[in-house]
C-alpha cells in the first residue's frame, strides 16, 4: 500500500507548503477576531432563529424533523473530524450511534440507572470500544480501513440482532424512560428540541476551539500527509486514535439522546444504510468545516423527508425506503465531481465563504496515481 518512494520525494515539498499554509490561516483566525465580521452576525442570527423557531412553529412534525437534524449533526460533526481532519473514513459509524442508543436502553430498563448517568454511559461505552478497535484498525490504510470499519459496523449490527437476552433481538427494546434533568422531565418535542440544539451548539463550540488548537493543526497536517506530519514530529497514530474516540463519543452521545427521544430502539435503525447516510451527510456538507456537518445533516434529512412525501404521490402504494436511490446517486455524483465534499464549493466564492470554510483538508487524500494499484 505504500506509494513509491519517488512520489513521496516529489510531493513532500507541496505537502509541507500545504501544512504551513493551513497553520498560517489558522493562526490568522485565532488572532483576527475582526475577521469574523459578517460571519459572526450570521451565526448570531442562526442561533436566534433556532431559539425562536419552536415558539413560532406549532407543528410536532417539524419539531421532530429538527430534532433528528440536530442529533445527526452531532454524529456528523464527529465524523467530520475523523474524515476532514484525520483523513480517515468510517463506514461503520451507525454502530457507535447504535451502541450509544443501546447503552441507554440497557442501562435504564435492565439496570435502572439514573437517566443522566445512562446518557454518560452512552458516550463512554462507544468511546471505549473505539479505543479498543481503533489501535489495530487505524493502522490500515484506504481500502482496508474502509472495509474494516464496514465490517465492524456489520458485526455490531449482527450483535444487536442476535444478543436476544440483552438487546431484545430484532424486535428491539421499548419502555425507555424520558430523560430527567433535576425536576425537568423532557417528555415533549418542545423541551427535547432545546436540549438537543443546546448540545449541538456546545459540540460545535468545542470543535471550533479544538480545531484552532495545536491538536487541530496537527490533525490537519496528518490529513494532508501522514509522512510529512510524522517527519515533523507529530504522533500520527495517537492523533488518529484520539479523533476516532472523539467521533465515537459524539456518535454515542447522539445515540443516547436518540434513545431518550424515541424511547424505543431496534437494530433496523443502525444498519449499513445509516452508516452510509452519515458519510453522505459529511460529504455533502464538506468534512473539515464547522458549518458543513450541520448543513449536510439538515440537507439530507430534509431531502429524505421530502422524498418520503413525494414518492408515494408518484408511485401509489410505494412504502419502502426508496430514498436510498437518490441518496446513493447523490453520494456517487458528489464523489465524482467534487471528492472533497460540496462544502468546498464555497471556497470558489471567496466573498461568501464563512469562517469555517478555509480549505477543508479533504476526506480522501486525492493524490493522483500513486503508481497505480495499491
Amino acid at each position: 500500500m505504500k506509494p513509491a518512494a519517488g512520489w513521496e520525494k516529489t510531493c513532500s515539498v507541496f505537502i509541507f507548503r500545504g501544512v504551513m499554509k493551513d497553520g498560517y490561516e489558522h493562526g490568522r483566525q485565532e488572532r483576527g477576531v475582526s475577521m469574523k465580521g459578517k460571519g459572526n452576525y450570521l451565526v448570531i442570527a442562526l442561533v436566534l432563529l433556532l431559539f425562536v423557531l419552536p415558539l413560532v412553529v406549532d407543528s410536532n412534525y417539524i419539531l421532530s424533523v429538527l430534532i433528528i437534524m440536530g442529533l445527526y449533526t452531532i454524529v456528523v460533526q464527529g465524523l467530520g473530524i475523523l474524515m476532514g481532519y484525520a483523513g480517515q473514513v468510517s463506514l461503520g459509524h451507525a454502530a457507535f450511534f447504535g451502541l450509544g442508543a443501546y447503552s441507554v436502553a440497557v442501562l435504564t430498563t435492565r439496570l435502572s440507572w439514573p437517566e443522566v448517568f445512562a446518557l454518560l454511559g452512552a458516550a463512554v461505552v462507544p468511546g471505549i470500544i473505539a479505543a479498543v478497535i481503533g489501535r489495530p484498525t487505524l493502522k490500515l490504510r484506504e481500502l482496508y480501513l474502509a472495509m474494516g470499519t464496514l465490517g465492524f459496523g456489520l458485526l455490531v449490527h449482527i450483535g444487536f440482532n442476535e444478543a436476544h437476552s440483552l438487546t431484545g433481538g430484532p424486535s428491539g427494546m421499548s419502555g425507555i424512560p424520558y430523560l430527567t434533568l433535576g425536576h425537568l422531565v423532557l417528555d415533549t418535542d418542545f423541551k427535547f428540541y432545546y436540549l438537543v440544539w443546546a448540545v449541538v451548539l456546545l459540540v460545535m463550540l468545542v470543535i471550533k476551539n479544538l480545531t484552532a488548537s495545536r491538536t487541530g493543526r496537527a490533525l490537519r497536517a496528518v490529513s494532508e500527509s501522514e509522512y510529512a506530519a510524522e517527519s515533523v514530529g507529530i504522533d500520527t497514530a495517537g492523533l488518529k486514535l484520539k479523533a476516532m474516540v472523539f467521533s465515537a463519543v459524539l456518535a454515542g452521545l447522539a445515540g443516547g439522546l436518540y434513545a431518550y427521544y424515541v424511547t424505543f430502539v431496534s437494530p433496523a435503525t443502525f444498519g449499513f444504510h445509516a452508516s452510509v447516510q452519515f458519510v453522505l451527510m459529511a460529504v455533502v456538507g464538506g468534512p473539515g468545516t464547522l458549518a458543513g456537518p450541520a448543513a449536510g445533516a439538515a440537507l439530507v434529512v430534509a431531502l429524505g423527508e421530502f422524498l418520503r412525501w413525494l414518492i408515494p404521490l408518484i408511485i401509489p402504494g410505494a412504502g419502502g425506503e426508496y430514498e436510498i436511490i437518490f441518496f446513493g446517486l447523490i453520494l456517487a455524483v458528489v464523489m465524482v465531481l467534487c471528492p472533497r465534499g460540496l462544502g468546498t464549493i464555497s471556497s470558489y466564492f471567496p466573498r461568501f465563504s464563512g469562517e469555517g470554510s478555509t480549505k477543508p483538508a479533504g476526506v480522501l487524500p486525492d493524490i493522483k496515481d500513486k503508481g497505480g494499484i495499491p
Binding site: 490500515l140 481500502l143 449482527i158 441518496f327 446513493g328 456517487a332 464523489m335 487524500p365
Partner: protein
C-alpha cells in the same frame, strides 16, 4: 454425523462457488482499474431478478439467461463510463464511496421494481439429487461449480492465450508501460466492468434456483466476495477462488454446527482477522501484482 458433515461440505462448496465468482470479478476489476467495486453483488441480484422476470414472461430459460447477462453487462459498462472513468486517478477511498453510492442506488431501484418478495427460478436440469456417501448433492450445485470452473479456465485462456488478454495483463503489471506501447488502459477498464457485470449476473442466475432471488441479496454477496478476495490477497485470481470456497465451507459449518443467526458474522470475523493480522492475504504476497 459424518453424513451431516458431508452435507454441510456440499452446501458450503455451492455457496462458496458463488463467493468465488464474486471474488474473481472483484479481483480482476480491482487489478485492472484500481476500483474495488462494491456494486458487484448488485450485478448478481439484478441479473437474477431480471432472469426471473423474463422467464416468468414465457421466454425460455436459456434465452432469458442470455438477455439478463447482456443487460447487466451493459449496465456495468455504462457504470464505468458514467461514474468510474470521470473519477479515474482519484484515491481508492473516493472510488469506493462512488461504488457504494451506485450499489445503494441499484438496490433501491431493484426494490422499486421487484419489491421485497423473494423469487425462485426452476433448476437448470431435471432430476433428483445425487447421493454421495449418504449426502445429497443437488444437480444445480454441479451447475454452479461448473460455472466457476468455466470462468477460471476461460479467464486463464483469455489472459495467456490471446493477444487481447496479454494486453490486459500488461496493463495490470504496469499501467504506464502498457500505455507507452499503445494499450488503451481506459478501454481495458471499461471491458473489465462489462465482464464483471456479465460474470456477476451469471453467478446470480445460477444460484437463484437454490438460494432465491431478492432485491437485497447483493449486499452480503458483495461483502463476502470481498472477504474471499481478501483471503487470497486481492491480487491473486486463484487465491480469490480458493478463498471463496474456503469461506463458503466455513460458513456452512459455522451455520450448521454453531448458530445460523451468526452465519454472516463468521465472514466478517474472517475479514477483520485477515485485515488485522495478514492484510496481504493468506496466499498473497504484498507488492506482487498479477491476476
Amino acid at each position: 454425523m459424518s453424513e451431516q458433515l458431508l452435507q454441510l461440505l456440499f452446501s458450503g462448496l455451492t455457496l462458496g462457488s458463488i463467493y468465488a465468482l464474486m471474488a474473481l470479478a472483484l479481483v480482476t476489476t480491482f487489478n485492472i482499474s484500481g476500483v474495488m467495486n462494491l456494486a458487484q453483488g448488485e450485478f448478481a441480484a439484478i441479473g437474477a431478478l431480471l432472469a426471473v422476470t423474463l422467464s416468468g414472461a414465457g421466454i425460455p430459460l436459456p434465452a432469458s439467461f442470455a438477455a439478463a447477462v447482456i443487460m447487466v453487462a451493459a449496465a456495468g459498462g455504462i457504470m464505468e463510463r458514467a461514474a468510474i472513468h470521470p473519477a479515474r486517478g482519484a484515491s481508492g477511498l473516493t472510488l469506493i464511496l462512488i461504488t457504494i453510492g451506485l450499489s445503494i442506488s441499484l438496490r433501491g431501484l431493484a426494490l422499486l421494481v421487484w419489491g421485497t418478495d423473494t423469487y425462485s427460478l426452476p433448476p437448470f436440469s431435471r432430476g433428483g439429487p445425487l447421493f454421495i456417501g449418504g449426502a445429497a448433492l443437488n444437480l444445480q450445485s454441479l451447475w454452479v461449480m461448473g460455472l466457476v470452473a468455466a470462468a477460471v479456465t476461460g479467464l486463464h485462456f483469455f489472459l495467456n492465450g490471446t493477444y487481447t488478454g496479454k494486453a490486459v495483463k500488461a496493463s495490470v503489471i504496469n499501467r504506464t508501460g502498457a500505455r507507452l506501447v499503445g494499450i488503451n488502459v481506459g478501454t481495458v477498464s471499461f471491458w473489465a466492468f462489462v465482464g464483471s457485470g456479465a460474470l456477476g449476473a451469471a453467478a446470480g442466475i445460477f444460484i437463484a434456483p437454490i438460494a432465491m432471488a431478492v432485491y437485497d441479496m447483493g449486499f452480503m454477496l458483495g461483502i463476502k466476495g470481498f472477504v474471499a478476495a481478501a483471503i487470497g490477497g486481492l491480487n491473486n485470481a486463484a487465491g480469490a477462488v480458493l478463498g471463496g470456497l474456503l469461506l463458503g465451507v466455513l460458513e456452512a459449518y459455522g451455520a450448521g454446527l454453531v448458530s445460523s443467526g451468526l452465519k454472516d458474522a463468521f465472514a466478517i470475523i474472517v475479514l477483520m482477522s485477515i485485515l488485522l493480522v495478514r492484510p496481504e492475504g493468506i496466499l498473497g504476497a504484498l507488492g506482487e501484482r498479477k491476476i
